[in-house]
Symmetry: C2
Subunit: 345 residues, 2 copies
DNA sequence: ACAGGCATCCAAAGCGCTTTGAATCCAGCT
DNA sequence: AGCTGGATTCAAAGCGCTTTGGATGCCTGT
């Protein structure tokens, strides 16, 4: 069933039917009702392809998902971010288009989306150091919003980010205040902007507290459970092991917990752990008391809001760029406690 | 830059340029080369919208992702499945379109995709008992492949599934062979087809071994870490606690491990755990020795293959439907051992 | 010299919609 | 009666591509 057939059935012109469906005022209420009823009866919806060709807007938002590392890992926060963004799109009548792509083909993927007029805008994931995507997307004149920031601090593009530096400063200070002096950082891949900021927050707070930062106690890598386990295991085997871990993702923290348990130590007693918690739906940080003391921010909420910012920008391309910096909660859980001497025995 | 402009620049007709780009033979090699060079220079790609309107194919595959439960959880295996499917799509020149949708709106989402001609086919996720989607999609004449099976056993639709029943039979038998008599099942939501089959496998093997199935030792719910923790905790508190857990997802198994540790028990010693492992990229089941004894099948590989089946079906709608049933590995890890009396003390 | 055949190329129609500009109708007013 | 103007409706152009059905030119063989 297409527009022409429907209009013939109704004895009206395609023009009128189209206007009725799209809510234009130049059609009487009675015929509008008649048209909408018929559309429903025959389950008619305008063809998205024809519509977007005619209007010049595809009503589709693109997400280019970089798969990283040898394992081509998909970031675990991704599902929840998408779910949040999807709510916004659904409410606004937009579709969501995904491309998963190896990092080296990423720029080509954006170029391609733009050249094919496949999307009206994109959300940019996982900004990194010297991220070339800001310039590229500007050149392509494709509306975009970053989830996270490229390290460039100018106001010339829109982004939504959490205050990674502050969150990790506060978390580090908490550990210092609990008397910990041997604090390790298990960070995400430090070519990524968020990881750099978290490290900076950690370093700031350690220096403020007059504490040593030992290279042995710094690690960065893939945000997998294995990496958390292996890194924590290795550090706990050091002659002078850390008494506390600051961890960049709850998945790595679960690995760290496994390492701690394997050494016969108790998390929250001999060893403390603070992690960042994205509030991933299947990895809730406990139901009553949080399992981990954590810096917390909902990535799903971020998805919803980032999508809103992008749709706003598409609706009014002349509007100013928008920057939103969200503070994280610092929630106390069972994984932290005062420093003890036990871990060194 | 559009086709017309490019063809004017080249002094050729749009027809010829189009044919050159789409690889038709009626254009000389020299002009084809010239055209392709110009297309590259001006970064021209045919508009996807116009192309799909003209060809009648959208070159897009839809995935309708149901969010489940009060938390609107996104299944954690989803990211890896999508990554696998995405590889297939990219290689074949297809795009991927996602809608996340509440379960009650799911049928409407499919209807809408079909009516708007937005996709050439869909992959159906998370089949359930009495799944209405088989009939609906047939009625809509939209090509589809199920990831998993609807319980209907006919050959009239295509699916790719793992042999859940067999996997859980074997896993259960392993635990029985290790001397366990108190075996608990922590299953996924039993309105889902896969969970029903796993339960059936468990029951089959228990009956074959002449063992009791105690309602106390059966649980089904959301595949979250919390659910695994709470369920295992509750069961371990029973007057007669299980000595082994068969768990439907590695995330729940991580929760169960936490519960076991919290009771001062050791996984693989006092309590055994076997889990299903989808080989999620960020939750690798250990690097050297597997942490968990597990029934294993790569969900990413499944995504890749399911997408292939769908594209095949789109390419030849008259071809027979295809069913693929994959067997799981049963890999031994550190989480299982012989039954002891310790757990009951 | 001419028909036939092949290799190239092109004009125009059409995909299903939106949207411009115009037509039609029917009060309401002078 | 005649004019104006608002309320409806419509015909037709156009979005950027593919594809049908020629057209053109060139080479062959007779």
């Amino acid at each position: 069933m297409n527009l022409k057939q429907l209009s013939e059935k109704l004895g009206l012109s395609p023009t009128t039917v189209s206007r009725a469906i799209n809510g234009y005022p130049e059609v009487s209420e009675t015929t509008r009702m008649r048209i909408l009823a018929a559309a429903k009866e025959y389950n008619y919806s305008p063809s998205a392809r024809a519509k977007s060709l005619a209007t010049g807007r595809s009503m589709t938002i693109g997400h280019v998902i970089p798969t990283s590392g040898a394992t081509e890992m998909v970031n675990p926060i991704f599902g929840d971010f998408i779910a949040g963004a999807g709510e916004t799109y659904a409410a606004a009548g937009y579709d969501m288009m995904l491309s998963t792509v190896h990092r080296e083909n990423e720029l080509h993927a954006y170029r391609d989306l733009a050249a094919r007029c496949a999307v009206d805008g994109v959300i940019v994931h996982a900004p990194r150091l010297n991220d070339p995507r800001v310039d590229l997307l500007r050149e392509l004149e494709l509306p975009f919003v970053f989830h996270g920031r490229a390290p460039i601090e100018d106001k010339s593009y829109s982004w939504l980010d959490i205050n990674n530096t502050r969150a990790f400063e506060r978390a580090t200070k908490l550990l210092c205040d609990l008397g910990h002096r041997n604090i390790a950082l298990i960070n995400g891949d430090e070519t990524m902007d968020f990881a750099l900021r978290r490290r900076r927050g950690f370093v700031n707070a350690m220096e403020a507290a007059g504490q040593d930062i030992r290279p042995d106690w710094l690690a960065a890598g893939e945000m997998t459970e294995s990496f958390g386990f292996e890194t924590a295991s290795r550090m706990l085997d050091l002659p002078e092991p850390p008494t506390a871990f600051l961890v960049s993702s709850i998945i790595m923290a679960i690995g760290a917990r496994r390492a701690i348990a394997a050494k016969g130590l108790r998390m929250g007693r001999e060893v403390s752990v603070v992690t960042h918690d994205d509030e991933i739906s299947y990895l809730k940080n406990g139901d009553t008391e949080p399992v981990f003391t954590a810096t917390r921010s909902s990535v799903r909420e971020a998805g919803r809001r980032t999508a809103e910012l992008l749709l706003g920008q598409i609706a009014d391309p002349m509007a100013d760029t928008v920057q939103e910096l969200w503070e994280c909660d610092l929630t106390l859980g069972a994984s932290t406690g005062p420093a003890t001497e036990l871990a060194r025995t």
